[in-house]
């Protein structure tokens, strides 16, 4: 199971710009490396990341082989209403991980 660390403020004022930080454990094997006996190590990366705020997509990213292991993705949004911020990562070999956090907007 992939472990993820999410940093979203629990409370925010309406209209405030909040920073969302996410970190997920993943090897991000590029597919360009070879092992000690010369056999190519197959690609195994996260290919897409999506963030939704109360069901509405607010951030989306495509990930590529040059991106580090355990990718850290940070971005900002405007706190509009209380609700759920959900995250989805998808990748090679059917990889899929999801996390969600609640935010209270006053």
């Amino acid at each position: 199971m992939a472990r993820a660390l999410i940093n979203v403020p629990a409370k925010a004022k309406r209209g405030e710009v909040i920073t969302i930080k996410t970190l997920i454990s993943h090897v991000m094997e590029s597919g360009f490396r070879h092992n000690q006996i010369g056999v190519r190590i197959p690609r195994d990366i996260i290919t897409s990341f999506t963030c939704t705020y109360n069901g509405e997509e607010i951030f989306q990213a495509d990930l590529h082989p040059a991106i580090t292991a355990n990718p850290f993705i940070a971005f900002t949004t405007i706190a509009t209403e209380s609700g759920t911020i959900a995250f989805t990562w998808r990748g090679d070999n059917g990889f899929s991980a999801a996390e969600s956090v609640n935010i209270t907007v006053e």
Partner: protein
């Protein structure tokens, strides 16, 4: 007869030179007040990465370790938590005291080896492989309970010969480059080796997340890196030579706060 006397005549100045060399090498050790963690040499963004537990990738291993702490294993069907209960209490400051003397083996063991001894003897389970994900995770979890505590090597007389062996290894030249650890980390710390600042080489954040490795790794992995860099043949994982060196490095870093899981470039 004559040859023996001749050798004896040569031995006296050699002994003086050796004594002098011992004085010089003793003086080369970094004074306690000037000791600083490798953290001080980090770029601001790497510091920020280590400081925030939600951006420090070492915390992913700590979370894995926390789960392992509570998982029953082996024929005994026991988890770490069944004997040691809450790690936040029972493991506080423990990592800062390792390597420690293990009476059954008559030599010091590091934290990884201690965990594996517990695993085979108390849990009656297969030991974790060196540098395996699970061993690093559990070590990082136990190590993090000492975060902020000063490194405090045990004042155990039985450790003295191993500490001396570690000190000797630190100043021994090795590899095709014919360099000792001390020539970089005692004599030239703070200067640059190519583009990188030479750190003082304090092991106060292991196991740590190294950006170059893109993973968490042990102090022995780091020592192997250094040895390969010197074009020397590294020891096998778990070799007593490493543990002696770890013991000396911890003694050398005494008083510095533990940072596990640290982040380094």
């Amino acid at each position: 007869m004559n040859a023996v006397r001749k050798r004896a005549r040569w031995l006296a100045p050699a002994a003086v030179l050796l004594a002098l060399a011992a004085v010089i090498s003793a003086r080369a050790e970094i004074p306690l007040a000037e000791r600083r963690s490798g953290y001080a040499d980090l770029a601001p963004d790497t510091k920020a990465m280590q400081d925030d537990d939600t951006s420090n990738p070492g915390m992913l291993a700590v979370l894995d370790g926390e789960a392992l702490w509570k998982t029953k294993a082996g024929n005994a069907g026991r988890a770490c938590a069944d004997c040691h209960a809450d790690a936040r209490v029972s493991m506080k400051g423990v990592a800062a005291r390792y390597p420690a003397f293990e009476p059954t083996l008559s030599r010091p063991v590091n934290l990884e080896q201690r965990i594996n001894i517990c695993r085979t003897e108390r849990q009656q389970a297969q030991p974790f492989a060196s540098e395996s994900k699970d061993l690093l995770a559990l070590t990082a979890f136990v190590g993090m309970q000492s975060r902020g505590q000063p490194i405090a090597p045990p004042a155990d007389e039985r450790l003295r010969p191993f500490l001396d062996a570690g000190r000797e290894a630190f100043s021994r030249r090795l590899g095709q480059f014919n360099l000792s650890c001390g020539q970089c980390h005692d004599d030239n710390w703070g200067k640059r080796l190519i583009g990188n600042i030479i750190p003082q080489a304090h092991p106060n954040g292991y196991p740590l997340y190294r950006l170059e490795w893109q993973s968490i790794g042990s102090l022995q992995r780091r020592l192997r890196n250094c040895m390969i860099g010197l074009r020397a043949e590294p020891y096998e994982y778990g070799a007593p030579e490493y543990v002696s060196l770890e013991l000396y490095l911890m003694w050398r870093a005494r008083g510095l706060p533990a940072e596990t899981p640290a982040v380094r470039p």
